[in-house]
C-alpha cells in the first residue's frame, strides 16, 4: 500500500505529550506525518496575507504552512490540524484553516483539539478516514453498485447487513450487537435469506463500524473501511445527492459524526462521543422510562413541545434526572419525548456542528434518523429541511456494499 503523506499543522502537541500518539495513529494506517518546510520570509508573508491577526507564533506558522499547501508550494496527500483543547485563539485558527483548505484545495482535512489524555486509539478512525480519502479517491468516486455484494456495519449498538444487486437493495438484516461476530453472522443470515441468495453467490463483501476489523477478518471481506467515508458515500447515494456539497449527520449509539461532503467524498468531519447525553443511548433511555418502544418515541415527540420541559445536558445521568423531574412535575410524555430529542440535537449542534460548514442538503442517517422528533429538532436548530433517505438506518452497510462492488473480479 502506498504511504500517505499527512501534513501536520499544529500548536502544542509536542508540549502536551501527544505527538507520539499522532505519529502512531498515522503509522497504523501506513501514513507519515510531516511538517511543511518554510522560510521565515514565507511565514511572515503568508501570515500577513492570510489576514488573521493572532499572537501565537506556532499558529502563525500553521497558517503559513496551510497557505503553502493550498498554493501547491508543498505537496501533501492530506492535512491534520491539531491544537490544544480549550485554547480560544487556536480554535479560531483551526476552524479558519480547515475551512480555507477545504474551500481552496482537494486536500482532505481533519482537525482535532487534544488534551494530554488524547491517545492514538482516539485518533485512529480519523487518520484512517483521512488516508482513505487520499488513497482511494478512485474507489470513493463509485456512484453505482454493480453485481451481487454485501455490506456489514458492526456498530456499537446494532449490527446491520444488506445485500445489493445491480444497484438495488434486495435484502437486509438488523439486530442489537451482543457478540460482535455472532451478531454479524445473524445479520448476514437475515439479509441473505431476505435476498434469497447464498453466501457463496456474493461476489464481494465490505465491512464498517466499530467491529469492522474483526468482522472483516471473519467474513474475509474485500473492503474493511471506517464509517466516516463509508457513511458519507452511503448517505449521498441513498439521498441521491452524489454531486455537489452536502452535510451528513449520524447520531450513533456511542459517538456522533458530522461530515461535510463534496461530490460524495468527505472534506472535513468531526467525530466525537464525549458524553452519552448527546447520543442515541439517551433516547433509548428516554423511551424506556416513558414505557414506549424506541420506534414510538419519534411520533410521540412530534406531538409534544420541547420548550415546556427544561432539558439540556451533555450527561446522560443529568439528562435522565431532568426527565424524571419533568414527569414527576406532571409534564406529558409527549413534551418529555420532544424535550429529549431537542436536548440530543442541541448537544450535537453545540459540540460538533460548529466545526463543519453546514451545506444543504443536510442528510441524517443511522438508526436515530428514524426518530422523527430528533430529525425535526435538528431541522429546527439548523433551520433547514433535513433529508432522511430510505434505508437510512442501514447506511454503513449500504455504503460498504456499494464500495465493495469495486472489488468484484472481472472474469
Amino acid at each position: 500500500m502506498s504511504r500517505v503523506r499527512i501534513a501536520q499543522l499544529s500548536c502544542g502537541p509536542e508540549y502536551s505529550g501527544v505527538q507520539k500518539e499522532i505519529n502512531e495513529a498515522a503509522a497504523a494506517v501506513d501514513a507519515d506525518i510531516f511538517f511543511p518546510d518554510m522560510k521565515l520570509a514565507d511565514i511572515r508573508k503568508s501570515y500577513s496575507d492570510f489576514g488573521l491577526d493572532i499572537r501565537s507564533p506556532d499558529l502563525k506558522l500553521a497558517i503559513a504552512r496551510a497557505k503553502a499547501l493550498v498554493e501547491g508550494r508543498v505537496e501533501a496527500d492530506a492535512v491534520f490540524i491539531a491544537t490544544c483543547f480549550r485554547c480560544a485563539e487556536a480554535a479560531i485558527v483551526r476552524n479558519e484553516l480547515r475551512r480555507y483548505i477545504h474551500e481552496h484545495s482537494r486536500l482532505p482535512v481533519v482537525s482535532y483539539s487534544f488534551t494530554e489524555r488524547t491517545t492514538a486509539g482516539t485518533l485512529l478512525t480519523r487518520m484512517e478516514a483521512l488516508t482513505t480519502i487520499a488513497r482511494r479517491r478512485a474507489l470513493l468516486a463509485r456512484e453505482v453498485q454493480e453485481g451481487l455484494t454485501m455490506g456489514v456495519d458492526s456498530g456499537s449498538s446494532t449490527t446491520k447487513a444488506v445485500v445489493m444487486k445491480d444497484n438495488r437493495i434486495i435484502g437486509s438484516g438488523w439486530l442489537p450487537t451482543t457478540g460482535v461476530i455472532r451478531s454479524a453472522d445473524e445479520a448476514v443470515d437475515q439479509a441473505l435469506s431476505a435476498a434469497g441468495v447464498t453466501r457463496g453467490e456474493i461476489q464481494a463483501v465490505g465491512t464498517t463500524g466499530y467491529g469492522r476489523f474483526l468482522v472483516g477478518e471473519h467474513l474475509k471481506a474485500d473492503l474493511v473501511q471506517e464509517e466516516l467515508t463509508v457513511n458519507s458515500k452511503g448517505a449521498v447515494y441513498l439521498a441521491d445527492a452524489q454531486h455537489g456539497p452536502s452535510t451528513v449527520i449520524d447520531i450513533g449509539g456511542m459517538d456522533n459524526k458530522a461530515i461535510s461532503v463534496q461530490d460524495g467524498i468527505p472534506g472535513t468531519f468531526t467525530m466525537g462521543g464525549i458524553c452519552a447525553g448527546a447520543s442515541g443511548r439517551f433516547l433509548e433511555m428516554t423511551a424506556k422510562r416513558l414505557g414506549v418502544d424506541i420506534t414510538e418515541l419519534g411520533p410521540l415527540a412530534m406531538k409534544g413541545l420541547s420548550q415546556k420541559v427544561p432539558m439540556n445536558s451533555y450527561c446522560i445521568v443529568f439528562g435522565t434526572q431532568s426527565l424524571v423531574n419533568a414527569l414527576a412535575a406532571g409534564s406529558t410524555p409527549e413534551d418529555v419525548a420532544a424535550a429529549a430529542c431537542h436536548s440530543v440535537a442541541e448537544q450535537v449542534f453545540e459540540q460538533q456542528l460548529q466545526e463543519v460548514d453546514i451545506k444543504e442538503p443536510v442528510i441524517m442517517v443511522g438508526g436515530t434518523s428514524l426518530i422523527q422528533g430528533l430529525v425535526k429538532a435538528m431541522g429546527d436548530l439548523l433551520q433547514t429541511q433535513i433529508t432522511v433517505p430510505p434505508y437510512s438506518q442501514y447506511i454503513g452497510a449500504v455504503g460498504s456494499a456499494l464500495l465493495a462492488s469495486g472489488f468484484i473480479r472481472r472474469e
Binding site: 500548536c11 508540549y15 502536551s16 505529550g17 505527538q19 507564533p57 506556532d58 480549550r86 494530554e116
Partner: protein
C-alpha cells in the same frame, strides 16, 4: 555569577550576551537537555509525556490548555532558579518552545511577579539601537555583580 532568565528562552542573542558577560543564561535548551537525557517512557520528539502537563499544574490550573501546562513544566524550574531576567518584548517570530502566546504571557508575568531585577528591551532594528542594546545588557549584567568577562 547570576542565573539570568532570558526571554525568548531560545534566544541566541540573549544566551550569547549573558554568557559572554560572565553570567548563566537560563535557556529552554538546559531543560530540554535534562529531559532528553533522562530515561523513561519513549515520547518523541521532546520526551515530554502526558505527565508533564500535570507537572505544569504547579503554575497553571487544569482549565489551562495542556500545551501551556506542558510548556510551563519546562520553564517552571527555570523560573525557580532565576535571579534576574532580560525580556525582549517584541519576539514575535520565536516558534516551538516559545510558540504559544498564552504561555509566554504567563511566563513574563510570573517573572515580573517574582520581584527580581528585570531588563525590558526590544530587538534592535538599526546599528545605533544595536549599540545601545548591547550596552544596556552589559550594564544590567554588571549591576548584578559577580560577573566578569
Amino acid at each position: 555569577m547570576a542565573n539570568v532568565f532570558i526571554y525568548p528562552t531560545t534566544s541566541l542573542i540573549l544566551s550569547d550576551l549573558v554568557a559572554r558577560f560572565g553570567h548563566k543564561p537560563l535557556s529552554a535548551a538546559l531543560q530540554v537537555r535534562e529531559i532528553i537525557q533522562t530515561p523513561g517512557i519513549e515520547s518523541p520528539p521532546l520526551q515530554i509525556t502526558p505527565e508533564d502537563p500535570k507537572k505544569g499544574l504547579r503554575w497553571a490550573a487544569v482549565e489551562v490548555p495542556s500545551g501551556v501546562r506542558g510548556r510551563m513544566a519546562i520553564y517552571g524550574p527555570l523560573l525557580d532558579r532565576a535571579e534576574a531576567a532580560i525580556i525582549v518584548n517584541n519576539a514575535e517570530y520565536s516558534f516551538g518552545c516559545m510558540g504559544c502566546a498564552r504561555t509566554n504571557e504567563l511566563l513574563t508575568f510570573l517573572i515580573r511577579k517574582k520581584g527580581i531585577p528585570v531588563l525590558d528591551l526590544e530587538y534592535p532594528t538599526t546599528e545605533e539601537e544595536g549599540v545601545e542594546f548591547v550596552a544596556a545588557i552589559r550594564q544590567f549584567l554588571d549591576s548584578l555583580g559577580g560577573g566578569g568577562s
